[in-house]
């Protein structure tokens, strides 16, 4: 019965969308034209990064509008990865300053993977307590997390930096991850919404059967919520990968605690003001961007879905 209504509605929707598709030629040209321009404006700077990264810095001036790399070389990448000698770097227009983006890359991977895994796991556990378990004061405690959600990050950077400094964790990867390791207010909020909105009568049945909550959490709730958990992990990972302010103040003092974004800033400030090493800089920027480009190519659908889901929830 309800199936019938469903199909009826679907076919009506289809008719509607078909009728709206019949547009005048002019509006079609405008629509597809605008979309093309938007796609070009989005992608061109990414191409320009690649084109510059593969050029020789010193001779960029000879043909600044060329769409192809000027004097093709992998030197920019070699400099960014700390593989070229000082003399080589200087000859190609590098600054000769030491940067090592393979190290920064590893640091970023370590920080972001550990941070994302711990944050999502602890947040999921907390969300379970705030939705499925029942106890006095539950919603009041949860409200504290909602307040935390609205506190602007910059306000907490100062006192948290002082705390990390007192713990002697400045210039360590652990100091960078510590404040976010145990929870993220958004993560708790997001998963709690999901748990509350899902029919979990199976959980109640399990409770009555005498299963303990740790087992229910691990063997029932986590599998049901897995797509949401992955969504959340992706969102948190992107955020952590791109963070700059916090890792700059906590980790920029030593190469061993410098993450990619911070390393890029350091590289930029080391190149001479008059003639920056644009090829090296763009190569470094690309190295930092590669995981995100790969993520988009292989999990684009999931990411697009994740972001859309975060709007309607």
């Amino acid at each position: 019965m309800s199936d019938k209504i469903q199909t009826k509605r679907q076919s009506r929707n289809q008719e509607a969308s078909e009728s709206t598709i019949k547009r005048s030629l002019g509006s079609k040209i405008f629509g597809y034209g605008s979309l093309t321009i938007i796609v070009l404006v989005t992608l061109f700077p990414v191409y320009w990064m690649l084109r510059t990264a593969l050029s020789t810095s010193k001779t960029l001036f000879s043909d600044p509008t060329s769409l192809m790399p000027v004097n093709f070389t992998m030197g920019g990448f070699a400099r960014a990865l700390g593989l070229s000698t000082n003399a080589q770097a200087l000859a190609e227009g590098g600054s000769g300053a030491s940067v090592n983006f393979s190290l920064y890359f590893m640091n970023s991977v370590i920080v972001c993977v550990i941070l994302t895994v711990c944050q999502v796991a602890f947040s999921a556990a907390a969300a379970y307590a705030f939705s499925i378990l029942k106890f006095k004061g539950r919603d009041a405690i949860f409200f504290l997390f909602v307040i935390a959600l609205t506190v602007p990050g910059i306000f907490l950077v100062l006192p948290n930096f002082l705390l990390i400094r007192e713990l002697h964790l400045v210039n360590s990867l652990f100091g960078i991850m510590l404040p976010g390791l145990l929870m993220a207010p958004f993560a708790i909020f997001f998963l709690r919404q999901f748990f509350l909105g899902t029919n979990l009568s199976i959980v109640e049945a399990a409770v009555i059967d005498g299963a303990n909550h740790f087992r229910i959490f691990r063997q029932i709730v986590i599998p049901i919520a897995w797509p949401q958990i992955i969504t959340l992990a992706i969102l948190q990972f992107i955020g952590a990968w791109n963070d700059y302010l916090w890792p700059f103040y906590v980790g920029s003092g030593k190469p061993e605690s410098t993450v990619l974004t911070v390393g890029l800033g350091v590289f930029k400030s080391q190149t001479p003001q008059g003639s920056p090493d644009w090829s090296g800089l763009m190569a470094a920027a690309l190295i930092a961007a590669i995981p995100m480009i790969l993520l988009m190519i292989f999990a684009g659908k999931k990411i697009v879905g994740s972001i859309q889901a975060s709007a309607v929830k």
Partner: protein, 298 residues
Amino acid sequence: MANPVVAKRKRKSDFLTALPFMGPALIGLSVFVLIPGIRGIYLSFTEYNIFRAPKFIGLDNYTRMIADPVFWNALWVTLEYVIINIGIQTVLALFIAVLMQRYTRSTVIRGIILLPYLFSNVIVALVWYWLTDYNLGLINSVLDFFSIDKFTFFSDVTAMPTIALINVWRHVGYTALLIFAGLQAIPKDVYDAAAVDGAGEWRTFRSITLPLLRPVLAFVMVITVTGSFQIFDTIAVTTKGGPIHATETFSILISKTAWGNNEFGYASAISVALMVMLSIIAFAQTKLLSANQSDMDR
């Protein structure tokens, strides 16, 4: 008393079970949000350089702030940034979202449009700093090629709008996607009804799409405006607040005051002021945009 079983079940609380579940998160919240939050407020009433213990000075930081032209400059610079950034970004995102809804279902297109959001602010800033470079940047080289005067993108007048537009490039796809999700949630029947009534495209957009989109727009505006107010990364790797104070937004000023001048007390006072402003704005936005949420039950 009449039904002891029910009474017993009512009294049973999961609190002890809940403790290990929420324990880590509660520790995280207390140690890295609540206590630092209180400490930040306390420090705003002190004179504190990192080497000596904080000295309580009452409201001095706040009276100093009100008389400080650099503080007011930060307010105007930040507002200029937010207005240009959010204004252009929201209109453009709405336009892109409507385009996507009408002309394409392609996830690939949505993925491409979202791509800049996956790059860090630092990468985006560097790429555009390069494209807009005065000597060798592509834009000025093209202008030069056509014998048009080169344009200084980072002068005291143009730097803030340039940075605002750079960040539009990074965030517009993300914002468009959120709005697109909102558009998808509007039932088709409403459009059919409008079409039957003979409403034109613009009329349909104004009287149906926009009002029904309001909850999503409110959500989008609250996130993007609070984010926009805290602009830091892009400026930190390009102009660093200059030329002179032309791009010295709140976050830049706070970091300069704390780490540059070692005045952690005064910097805390400025960040308290910023937080209060943000709370008022977020509150006002929610009230303004979702008051009269009649339109559809969501």
